[in-house]
């Protein structure tokens, strides 16, 4: 590493782009969040009033609880399942490429098409899944039952995103030198011991990335529930982004929506930071 302040020249274009696409808009949001805006010329500084109002809004709090529950649930399903699938993969050969391609497909489908696909797949009248579940004698309708809506959304999210975890873990597994496995075999290690003491430590960095990506992305989910359930039945699948969008675009409540936005962003930053800090701390303790 060479110390070189000229490197800032190379970084400048990125800083400019991000300043335009992120800093200016975020400053605008912060600016809105402390004002009561009647029209372009009539504004009133209201301090933290909008923040207080947001934190007391029962619909915000309900959406927050649903959001945290949803994120916890999909992470709890997708991370172990992703590790399992990665371990089931052959490490090389033609089949490996075929599996990689199949796994990658859900990641490249537009999010609203994911919603449409599952709509078509899960509807009791025209969907394969809906019809199959109904044929088993289970009453199932994701548009009228909150439980069914949640089950369908979670299943859809697992379908959509487990591949990301699996591909990241596969990349991690593929990088483990065979000597580690040979040493473990000489020691007579069981499959579980190999996983626990050889594979898991090597997966640490990719798993950290996987959990972080899934955590932040599940916290900002919007399009798939918007298409599949529209936030319903009632408000049972209305998560933070959906509530915020209805406030910002539907009602043009600039102040409350801006305060909501700032709190929302801070929440994601906080959760990601907490996770990252705890991983780093544990890593230091182990080292």
């Amino acid at each position: 590493m060479r110390a070189n302040q000229k490197a800032w020249l190379a970084v400048a274009p990125v800083v400019l782009v991000v300043a335009f696409t992120a800093v200016a808009p975020l400053m605008t949001v912060v600016n809105y969040s402390v004002q009561d805006i009647f029209d372009v010329h009539t504004r009133l500084f209201v301090g933290l009033d909008w923040y207080r109002e947001t934190l007391r809004d029962p619909r915000f709090l309900e959406a927050l609880v649903r959001q945290l529950g949803f994120s916890a649930l999909v992470l709890a399903l997708e991370i172990p399942l992703g590790i399992w699938i990665a371990r089931c993969m052959p490490l090389q050969g033609r089949m490996t490429v075929a599996f990689l391609i199949i796994l990658a497909v859900p990641l490249l489908i537009p999010w609203n098409v994911v919603g449409v696909t599952w709509q078509i797949f899960a509807r009791p009248d025209i969907g394969l899944l809906g019809a199959a579940v109904t044929a088993l004698g289970v009453s199932y309708n994701y548009t009228s039952s909150a439980f069914d809506a949640w089950a369908t959304l979670v299943l859809m999210d697992v379908w959509h995103w487990t591949s990301l975890v699996a591909l990241l873990c596969f990349a991690g597994l593929a990088a483990i030198p065979p000597a580690y496995y040979q040493a473990a075999a000489l020691d007579g290690a069981s499959r579980w011991q190999v996983f626990r003491h050889v594979e898991l430590p090597h997966l640490k960095s990719v798993l950290t990335i996987a959990v972080l990506l899934r955590l932040m992305d599940s916290l900002m989910i919007y399009t798939e529930p918007f298409v599949l359930t529209g936030g319903g039945p009632g408000a049972s699948t209305t998560f933070l982004s959906q509530y915020l969008t209805s406030m910002a675009v539907g009602q043009f409540d600039l102040g409350p929506a801006a305060a909501f936005s700032v709190l929302y962003f801070l929440l994601i930053l906080l959760l990601c930071w907490l996770f990252h800090a705890s991983v780093m701390k544990r890593g230091d303790a182990a080292a």
Partner: protein, 269 residues
Amino acid sequence: MSAPNGKAHWSLYLYCLFLLAPLYWLVSMAVKSNRDILGGLELVPGDPTLANFVEVATNPAWYGAFVNSLTYVCLNAALSITVALPTAYAFSRYRFLGDKQLFFWLLTNRMAPPAVFLLPFFQLYSAVGLFDTPLAVALAHCLFTVPLAVWILEGFVSAVPKELDEMAAIDGHSFPFFFFRILIPVIRGGIGVTLFFCFMFSWVELLIARTLTASEAKPIVVAMTRTVSASGLDWGVLAAAGVLTILPGLAVVWFVRRHLAKGFAMGRV
């Protein structure tokens, strides 16, 4: 559970079946008429038709939206790679004032929910006269793709030994020659993977694309949310459009298939 280098475990086939079943259903809907779809369930389409695809391919509202989407996705990818490459090189090779903080700050942008940007984006892009153009969507998507591109490319550049830079200098090559003729060919796999990730965000995103466009630059994902006709929802055409939106993704994944595993390691495992 399979041993390393062994054969695929049977549960992997089961999982692939789970991944492919909804897609099979989408394709089977796409080749049926709306009457057949609502008429009853059939596992294999009895009377397949390409009418839905013909509708998407001949109706300008549909294929125009396709062109709009592809335009901003390509613009975004080109823009992201162009600005991210020198930055990734700088992060990988130099230490400078605030480099760690800058790198971390870039990544925090990836954590911002798109919904947060709805309010200001509309005003910002209207103010600079970009509203309802593909360039507006391409720029707005940079919010997420540029940090990701810097992150991935930094991993790939760091995997290139520094001796390569020094050898080029000793050989008397100028820095631009080294950068474009030596470094870029070496990390072309990484560039392919970065394109994959840019595509993976820009092609699939709906909320920002919907907010920044009205009629002129309406993307395919938005066109698909407005398919309710007089006779109700036309499932067949919707499914056909859905199938067509999957094809570019398949092309991209085919293109980078050899680099996929390494790419997901972000070059740094």
